[in-house]
């Protein structure tokens, strides 16, 4: 006779389940020194990471996360906050998705996308800290390529993939601090505003960007 509890066939390791059931470092830091938000509610998982950093040593004193995601997303975010706590931001930046996955005893390959998001959340919180504290060592000028790679973090809610890979972005121009992005989408589209807001937020954070212009394609 099948009984619940003694017959659970989860595709997850005990460690993943433990972090899913009782995630560590959950919550929000109101006075965070750096924060990162990856993913988008319109298309799937989302993760937010908050940091408190010691300005002298650059050691991460406190770290918290929030997740709107599946088990892999929650477990990876939980383990990665444990791994990053007490490390300098330089060391924390080097933590890879593979290391986080190994620490969890492995994840199903199809869940890679959801767990990568947690790693990206940490990196974007660190980048936010660095940008705010003038720690970006070589201030790389924003080019078309930089913009394109940032736009890979903006989701296309219709497809659940980013707007670059789903070919919504048809043109990028960068000129004297003004970025112009052309989208293959009419301004009346139900997701036009959500995509625009997300896109502007991602690009405005770049140090030498003064203005972001989004151009919709009508008809």
């Amino acid at each position: 006779m099948l009984k619940a509890g003694d017959n659970l066939k989860f595709p997850y390791t005990e460690k993943v389940l433990e972090h899913f059931r009782n995630p560590k470092n959950v919550g929000k830091l109101e006075d965070a020194d750096g924060k990162g938000l990856e993913g988008s509610p319109a298309c799937g998982d989302m993760v937010a990471v908050y940091l408190k950093v010691d300005p002298k040593t650059t050691v991460i004193d406190d770290i918290k996360f929030e997740s709107y995601g599946c088990a892999s997303n929650i477990a990876t975010a939980s383990i990665i906050t444990e791994m990053a706590k007490g490390k300098t931001i330089a060391d924390a930046k080097k933590i890879t998705w593979q290391e986080a996955t190994d620490e969890l005893g492995g994840l199903p390959p199809v869940k890679r996308h959801c767990s990568v998001l947690a790693v990206e959340g940490l990196r974007s919180a660190i980048r936010d800290y660095e940008e705010k504290h003038g720690l970006v060592s070589e201030q790389e000028p924003t080019t078309e390529e930089v913009v394109r790679s940032r736009l890979k973090h903006v989701m296309n809610p219709m497809a659940g993939l980013d707007i670059v890979r789903t070919e919504l972005v048809t043109k990028i121009e960068v000129k004297e601090g003004i970025v112009r992005v052309v989208l293959d989408l009419p301004s009346s589209h139900q997701f036009a505003n959500a995509i625009k807001e997300d896109l502007v937020e991602k690009l405005e954070a770049l140090w030498d960007v003064k203005e972001v212009k989004v151009v919709f394609t009508e008809g």
Binding site: A4, L8, D45, Y68, G69, C70, G160
Partner: protein
Amino acid sequence: MFDKITYLDNAASTRLDERVLEAMKPYFFDTYAVATSEFGYSMGIDAKEGLMAARGSIARTLGASAEEMVFTSGETESSNMALKGVTAAVKKKKGSHLIVSRIEDFPVLNTAKSLERQGSKVDYLNVDSEGAVDLEQLESLITKETALVSIQHANQEIGTLQDIKAIADICSDKDVLLHTDATHTFTRVPLDVKKIPVDLVTISAHTIHGPRGVGGLYIREGTPIEKWMDGGYQESNRRAGLENIPGAVGFAKAVELVTPEENAALARMRDHTISKALEDIPHVTLNGSRISRTPQNANLTFHYVEGESMTLHLDMRGFAVSTGSACFSRSLEASHVILGIGGDHEKAHGSLRFTFGRYNTMEDVDAVLSSLKEIVEKLREISPLYAKSR
């Protein structure tokens, strides 16, 4: 940990009823011959009689005659047979244009896509926010080349019932054949082919506590249909392959065991689930129609949380339900049904489907909802969206 598994995914599969198994047993151990003609040997004649009796009683449930019912291996085969068989039969004389709804289950949807790749023109009908197809659009899309219209009787995920009478009247006025996938309504919601002019109906045993791997296709007498799977001459040369006589007998028994009282009990569990979830848990929306839905289906979105996280927590507490979240599906695609009714990925992300069956009780509903209330609270605590919304 728990002394009981509460299975609330009866649209996917159901527990076999023991009485069905008892009815099937003689056809495994005593009367296991193939069905032969009346000039064959005794055991084969007995087998044939069992098959005919099963065919007759299932056909009667739909108001059909026995000859109009073909046994298949289930929903997928029945719908393949209907779409491919009819298209092949009428494409030279008429054309190969197909019209299907956007929210069909995969047997119809992917068969339509496959025919599209082979040159058929396929139109995908829009549905409204509750999942009802646009009847005006249907009427406007039918042309002289339309081979077949295929619109489900009820939806597999959100339980929405289509106005099959109105759809059938449009098709019959325009002289176009109509197929309906009735997998989620057969025996639960009445469908009488004498009163409603549908030409083909897909049914399956797996949703009504019958054996899986058995289904049927009703084919109205005179409907042009070509055999799509080659082989022997079984089922009056309409479906090749050794007849699954134990399965057919079990299917007939399963049909016999469904009662109006049971359907009313399922509807009470459905209504209780919907009203209790909406009352007890904040930020919940119903997917589909409150009124026009199958008795066994409740589908709700719990905003700010993700479906796979909820189903995993529920599984740890002994409850089996499903979700339209992309994270749960094998294809990692969000439910095409939730997107089809105008929902976004967020709506699909937090959706849960409860489908009730014979072995569920009102206590199960209370138990799953009280667990779910805690789970949703716990997951919202860590959700960045929920924090934003407050």
